[in-house]
């Protein structure tokens, strides 16, 4: 299936990389800035879910935000 080819290629590349001795180019001792709390994707999950819920009940778009909500918010 043509649509599947890019995924198959990407998968093979990743599998090859996974079987090699890939060395991390950012060493663990170089990750102090990345470990800072301000670099977290979502510091407050409940708050992020609440804002997602508000948006999903007023917009047609949904998903791919990294958090989930519930309910319909129909009114």
């Amino acid at each position: 299936m043509p649509a599947f080819r890019p995924l198959a290629v990407a998968g093979l590349v990743l599998m090859t990389a996974a079987c090699s001795n890939l060395q991390p180019w950012v060493k663990p001792y170089e990750r102090d800035k990345l470990a800072d709390p301000i670099m977290g994707w979502d510091r407050d999950a409940i708050s992020a879910q609440y804002l997602d819920h508000i948006r999903e009940t007023r917009e047609a778009s949904r998903g791919a935000t990294g958090s989930a909500g519930g309910g319909c918010g129909c009114n």
Binding site: M39, I46, S47, E59, A60, G63, C74
Partner: protein, 395 residues
């Protein structure tokens, strides 16, 4: 894209990912124990919603943790659609969720269950997720699947004496693949991909279509009628995001999400966020968000006559719109040296202002004024404010 094709592709990607998971070398760790108390208030578009929540995240061993969350929404007022049909609402939504996390080597497995109950709406979601760190912990790959079953009803009584008519069920399946990648000592990026398939009763019972009473004579006015929705929908969303640690201690985050679905809706979301700590006591955050979408292919603000098309909707969520959000958040850290069993604590105040502009959804509250005929009323727009206050205690 057909549902079967999406599921087949996701199945093959999952098989590839499973092979990748073999490379685990040292253990991942679960987050700290914490408890959160949360209060929120939303005001806008004629509605007031307050929310209270309590959440607990507790590790039982170094490998197993549980999360519990209880959330209550109180809704009062009514949106433009409900106002136009002269009924007010007062409702409560109770959401309960529980999750169990298990860590083995570099893999985190999560299973969760969420129920969301309103008197006219019931939703139950079960989900499983898997997160894997790899390539020297530079890469984190997450896979998730969620199955949701909804029961949809309509209150045909009053706000205080409800009479619920149950209209049908809907099932939703959500598939997520998230990739997070450390690129440099200062830069981390991510790609999130999501597919959701729905089937069943997908309409909102509190919305109505309107059509001309005696077409093409506008002066004769309009009538309201029932919406007719397709009973299937598949949506695809992909988001790219990047977070950069600035030369001084602050971070900037940018993201873009592209969404499309089988109802011909395309949505685009841009977000920019700036986070600035002050010593180790305050974390200040400012953010801007812009969202735009076109309308669904079966949406119209005004149909020519009843039953003009097989599917018809006049739900403002399906109209073309754009909205802007400006938000600010301040987090204050206290108990830096801990107290009894508590290691530290934070309190956060968050405020957002959202401006909604609808591009083909008209404000029918203006109908009846001499200068407006059906379809010529001003476009609907409103502002909303969202406040959140929450305290997090780490122990």
């Amino acid at each position: 894209m057909k549902v079967a094709a999406v599921q087949r592709i996701l199945g093959r990607v999952a098989a590839v990912v499973t092979l990748l998971l073999i490379r685990a070398t040292c253990a991942d760790v679960l987050p700290d124990d914490r408890a959160d108390l949360f209060y929120s208030k939303y005001s806008g578009g004629g509605m007031d919603i307050t929310g209270d929540s309590v959440a607990v995240n507790k590790k039982f061993t170094e490998n197993i943790a549980a999360q519990l969350n209880y959330f209550v929404d109180h809704v009062s007022g009514a949106s433009i659609d409900v106002l136009s049909q002269a009924s007010q609402i007062r409702d409560e939504r109770i959401q309960k969720s529980a999750a169990l996390e298990f860590v083995h080597d570099k893999t985190t497995y999560t299973a969760s269950y969420t129920s969301s109950i309103e008197r006219d709406y019931r939703s139950h979601t079960a989900s499983i997720a898997l997160k894997q760190d790899m390539f020297g912990d530079l890469t984190t790959l997450s896979l998730a699947f969620a199955n949701t079953v909804d029961k949809v009803g309509e209150n045909n009584g009053t706000a205080f004496v409800p009479v619920i008519d149950w209209l049908g069920h809907a099932q939703s399946r959500s598939y997520d693949i998230d990739w997070s990648q450390i690129l440099t000592k200062n830069l981390i990026a991510g790609v999130n991909f999501n597919v959701i398939t729905d089937n069943g009763y997908l309409a909102n019972p509190y919305r109505a279509v309107r059509f001309l009473r005696a077409p093409p004579n506008l002066a004769a006015g309009y009538q309201l009628g029932s919406q007719m929705y397709p009973d299937t929908r598949t949506s695809t969303a992909i988001q790219g995001e990047a977070k950069y640690f600035l030369p001084y201690r602050a971070a900037v985050t940018g993201s873009f999400r592209y969404f499309r679905d089988t109802w011909s809706i395309v949505g685009k979301t841009f977000e920019l966020d700036y986070t600035h700590p002050i010593k180790n006591i305050w974390i200040l955050e400012g953010r801007f968000r812009y969202y735009t979408q076109n309308h669904a292919d079966f949406y119209s603000d005004l149909f020519d006559y009843a039953g003009q098309y097989r599917f018809e909707a006049r739900d403002q969520d399906l109209a073309a719109q754009e909205n802007y959000t400006i938000g600010a958040k301040a987090t204050y850290a206290f108990l830096p040296n801990g107290w009894k069993i508590f290691k530290r604590a934070t309190v956060t105040f968050d405020a957002s202002r959202i401006t909604f502009h609808y591009l083909d959804f008209r404000n029918i509250k203006y109908y009846g004024l001499p200068q407006y005929q059906p379809g010529t009323e001003p476009l609907y727009q409103f502002n909303a404010t969202v406040y959140q206050v929450y305290m997090s205690i780490f122990f």
